[in-house]
Amino acid sequence: MTVRRYFQEHPIVVLSLLLLLLVGVLEAIRPGAVTPNWFRTTVLFAAPLGILAAGQTLVMLTGGIDLSVANVATAAAYIMASNARHGDLQAVLLGLAVGVAVGLVNGLGIAVFQAQPLIMTLGMALVVTGGLTVYSQFAVTSVPSVPGFIHTLGAGTVLGFVPVSLLLWAPIAVIIVVGLRRTGFGRLLYAIGDNAAACRLAGVRVWQVRLVNYTLCGLLSAIAGLVLAGTINTADLGLANTFLLPTVAAVVIGGTSIFSGSGNYSGTIIGAMILTVLNSVLTLLDAPEPIKQILYGAIILLLATAYTRVLSDT
């Protein structure tokens, strides 16, 4: 009872303990596996997921969802890489612009034309992927290449074991965590997730908040795509496509309600770390791929179920 109460009030502590437990399991299976270098690679892989899941957290807080995050990330990375010859900065800005544009279209559809977020973003995911394929066949003349500083951003290290991507992820995380708590925009995201009709009655122009929110999600997806391209040092048409469901899983494990109105990005960060560590534990087990998938899915299910059981009232 008291454990449950504590969990309800400090989910982040319990999630962190769970993360430590997983790290412990890893060390037990393979003594000596947990090293500064292990930390480096874990963060390297967690950073793109964490940034991608940041946008997902923002839209899920309002009771929405964005199924186009992974496709937007891929498109941003690919368009950046295929325009590298125009100069690094232009290429990066072009990549980010893709994210903003798709996010804006999602936002317009959902906030102004009242489309269901699920349908709108699923549709846009297909449009983006299809559009990207056409673009790659007809408009790309040079071999895509990742700008050098993006590669450093995605794969570099400072002070021996601190990944450069952490230097980007950490400020983004701070801005989002503090922003959700202290800004009017953050306050309104929770309010809209709780009761959008009540917000309208109180004079809040809900559509504006939603529009900005989906645009922000598009931008964050593009940033994640660029980081991921940097990590792998290449960008192809399927770069981030396996990331969609992990973003939703990270948000849910992190304690943001699918029915919205409660949650925070700090939970999502731990969620993304848990998923990444879980992946490396399963990799170390040397289990065949299907077994890994089954375990991965089962553990996510278990976590999410435990969460809803413990957090639901009486």
């Binding site: 202290r182 009017g184 009761n195 917000c199 009655l201 004079g203 809040v204 109105g261």
Partner: protein, 498 residues
Amino acid sequence: MSELSPLLEVSSLSKRFGPVIALRSADLSVRPGEVHALMGANGAGKSTLVKVLTGVLRPDGGTIALRGKIRVIASPAEARRAGLMPVYQDPALIPDLTVLQNLRLTGTPVEAVRRWLSELGMSGIDFGVLTRDLPPPSLRLLDLARALAAEPDVLLLDEITAALPADLTTRVFDVVGRRRAEGRSVIFISHRLAEVSVFCDRATVLRDGETVGVVEPARGAEAKIVDLMLGPVAADVARAEAQRAPIRSGDGPGKSRLEVKNLRAGSMLQDVSFTVRPGEVVGVAALEGQGQGELFDCLAGVRKPDAGQILVEGRATSFRHPYDAIRAGLVLVPADRMQALLRQRSVRENIALPLVSRLTRWGLINVRSERRRVKQAIERLQIDTRAQAQVRRLSGGNQQKVSIARWLAAGFQTLLCFDPTRGIDIGTKRQIYVLVRELAAAGSSILLFTSELAEIPLACDRVIVLFGGRVVQVLPANVADESTLLRAAHGLAAEAAS
């Protein structure tokens, strides 16, 4: 078993939600063939008691005995099997299914429902229509008929008459009362003292989660019930306040703050014109569905009128969004509190909601200024903030206060109150009416619709009566007694006395 042994016996039932004690020690004894009222101020624990009795909540302590046997009621289904059947405040029907489909869904015998409906004088309901298309009173009666069809030993009616016009209320008690002969009982929750004293055999009064008395509501017992509900100190205060609240009759002819000209919207609101002056409380009296809902929605910017004009301070306006109405100084307190509130958010966030953009500087909320404004509003309305972390944990009366406090904090010129005292205890009602008078005295204008006609002379300066989407009468509130208003609201008296 003797005739007089109770059908339902509840002893020292308790239930707490975290730090909030909802039920301290509730006792309730219902005899066979009795209509038993359950009374209490908001937050006294009535709803919690009903939820425990119907298996929605598990009690922390105490016992429930049916026909002398102690029962543990672990789920709503079990409560039903034990013969306890509730009819809740909100219709428990799925809006997108027809009446027939709803009945089939719950396995309710259709013929029995039809029979009870015709007893209730509602044989006209077409079972093939979607329940969303039925007016609220029909839904309430359908819920009731469905509960009656289960032939329960104890029927629990939670505020069923709140949405019913007077003639249907009488009908409901007629039908329900007939079951007395079969030794079946009714537990009846209502804030309407008049109904309780006319229709009920006994009344159990709860205060602060405890049973404080069982009263036989003969004539003159109303005062005793009120005293029990409020407790010794609060009762005196309420009486003094009720006498102190001065009723003036408007500011005489002067500039109008709000002027409505030939407003038309949808099929209900046909052609309505009236004015509200600064410092004036204008009451709106109407039966269910005479266009008052559309009128308030148009004034609050929730919907656009089809024709007509809304003038604020003499200037024509066109509201495309509630934001526009709020900027023009018109703010709405809707009837359904949950429509206005963020259930999972705190009292502070709920009150500050319309203020967010004004409290924000460079994107950041000025917490100190927010705290100050919210605190002032909470103190002015005496909101009980013990359960302030989530508004859904507050009692109905406190929730209503929060939805009003929001506008006190944000500021306004004209307050549009739509049935603000529906389902609220008498103490809170008085507070709300005293507040309305104070606001008017300070220069605000108030447009107030209430379904309880007796309240109009208490709070208003003038009253307009709507019938069929038109204003059929305008009266000074001090001559608007209940029978005059009721006749006008039925479209009977056309001789205007404005």
